[in-house]
Assembly symmetry: C2
Homo-oligomer: 219 residues x 2
DNA sequence: TTTGTATTTTAGCATTCGCTAAAAATTTAA
DNA sequence: TTAAATTTTTAGCGAATGCTAAAATACAAA
C-alpha cells in the first residue's frame, strides 16, 4: 500500500509550492524536482487518477485532502529526521538535509514515533522549519524575511532556507541561527546589503540574496 | 553510481546462500527473494553484464569480488542498523529485522560510520550475526546448531536465525539469547525434542525445528 | 537409454518513471 | 488583434523490474 518515492516527492514538492503561495504549475513542479515538464504532466495525470490531487489542464495542480495528508507526513518525516540527525547523531546542520531527503521515504511509523519521542515531540527542525504534528497540523512558519523586516525593531531569527549547504555553513559561522535575537540596523536601496545586529555580537552586513533566505519572528 | 535496491537485494541473497554453503541457483534465489525464476534469470544476466557475478546458464551464479564487496556492505548496513535500532532506539529484537531491511539501502557512508562509532564498532548484531568490517572482513559465524551439538558440554549461544519474529519472541521469553551459557542435557532420536540447561535456569525442552535455528560456540 | 519430472531460459507483456520532439494551448506584446 | 513567445500536453521511446506461458535443457528413474 506504500506509495513510491517518486509520488511522495511530487506531493511534497506541490505542498511546498502551495504553502509558499505559488501555484503548482507544471513548470514549477518540474523545476522543484529537476525533471522535464512532460514527466510532470504525466505524473499529474496519474496522481489525479489516484485522487491525490486535482489537475485542470494548463492550470496547475491542487492537492486533495488525502494528498495533503500524505505530503504532511513526508514533511514530518523529513524534519524529524533532520533534527534527529543533528541532535542525536552529531550531524552538522548543513549535512542533515540530504540524508533526510533519502530516509524520509523509508522509515516506518514506529521509527517516526520513536524519534519524535526521543526528541521530545519537537515543533521545529534545525533550520526553523515547522514539523507537522502526527495528525497533520502544521505549526506557524516564519515568513518575514530580513529583507522585508522593519528597521530598529527587535526580532528573533525564526528560520533559514535549508537547501544550500554552503550558505548554511556561512550563516552558522556568522551566528545567524534560529533562536538568536536580531535587529536590522540599516538597509540600502535597490536591494543592496543590509546591516544587522545580533545578540552579543558586533554588526554584520548581509547581501540581499542572503537576507531573503532568513526569516524572522517577533520577540 | 548507486545500485538499485533490487540489485542490492539480489547480491545480498546470493551472498547469504553462498555463505550457507548452498549453490545460488535460479530457484534458490527466487525462493529467497520471493520472485519468479524467470525474473531471476533476467536479473542474473544483467548482473553478469555488470560484472557483479558470473552466471553460467543452468549452473547458478557466483559473485565476483566486486559483487562480494557490495553484498558485504549491505550486510554491514543491515546488521549495524539492527543493533542500532535495538540499543539506541529501543526496538525489541524481533522488530529490528524488517526496519533494517528497508533502511540498509538508503543510509549514507556517513550514517554507517556514525552508528558504528556510537555502537563502539560492534562485531555482532542482536541475533548474533557477524557484522562485516568496513574493509569487508566477516567475523566468524556460529555454525553449530543445538540440534547437532554434543551432549553435556558447555557452550554459549552464539546466534539465532533472525527471520521469524514469532520465534524470536518465544526464544527471548525462555531465555535463549546470544551470550547465554547453555548445555545440551538430553536428545531424543528421530529429530525429537531436545532438553537444554541454561545458566541460572531450570531446563527447557526445544522442538527440533527450533533447535536447528539456534547456533552455539565453544566457551 | 529412453522417458518423465524438475529446472531454467526465452518470449512476450505490463507498470513505473524518466526522456525528447512535435503539436496544441495560452499568454504576452507589438 | 494578431503574431511571437512561452507553457503544456501528446506521442513515442527506453530502462528497470516484475509477471505468465511455452520451450529448452538437465537430471533421475525405469
Amino acid at each position: 500500500m506504500g506509495l513510491s518515492q517518486s509520488i511522495e516527492d511530487y506531493l511534497k514538492a506541490i505542498f511546498v509550492l502551495q504553502s509558499e503561495g505559488e501555484v503548482a504549475t507544471t513548470t514549477n513542479i518540474a523545476n522543484a524536482l529537476k525533471v522535464s515538464s512532460a514527466s510532470v504532466t504525466n505524473m499529474l495525470k496519474r496522481l489525479a487518477k489516484m485522487n491525490l490531487l486535482e489537475h485542470e489542464a494548463y492550470k496547475g495542480a491542487k492537492l486533495t485532502s488525502t494528498g495533503n495528508k500524505i505530503a504532511l507526513e513526508i514533511l514530518r518525516h523529513h524534519r524529524l529526521l533532520e533534527l534527529y540527525l543533528k541532535e542525536v547523531m552529531g550531524y552538522s546542520w548543513d549535512e542533515v538535509h540530504d540524508e533526510a531527503e533519502k530516509l524520509e521515504h523509508h522509515i516506518s511509523e514506529q521509527f517516526e514515533e520513536r524519534i519524535a519521542e526521543l526528541l521530545n515531540h519537537p515543533t521545529h527542525d534545525p533550520h526553523g522549519d515547522p514539523i507537522p504534528t502526527k495528525d497533520g497540523v502544521m505549526p506557524a512558519i516564519a515568513r518575514l524575511s530580513i529583507a522585508k523586516a522593519e528597521l530598529n525593531k527587535p526580532y528573533i531569527i525564526g528560520r533559514v532556507k535549508d537547501q544550500n549547504s554552503e550558505l548554511l555553513r556561512y550563516l552558522e559561522k556568522i551566528g545567524v541561527i534560529p533562536g538568536v535575537k536580531i535587529e536590522i540596523v540599516e538597509k540600502t536601496p535597490f536591494s543592496g546589503p543590509i546591516k544587522i545586529l545580533l545578540e552579543d555580537k558586533e554588526t554584520q552586513v548581509l547581501g540581499h540574496a542572503v537576507a531573503s533566505e532568513v526569516y524572522l519572528v517577533d520577540t
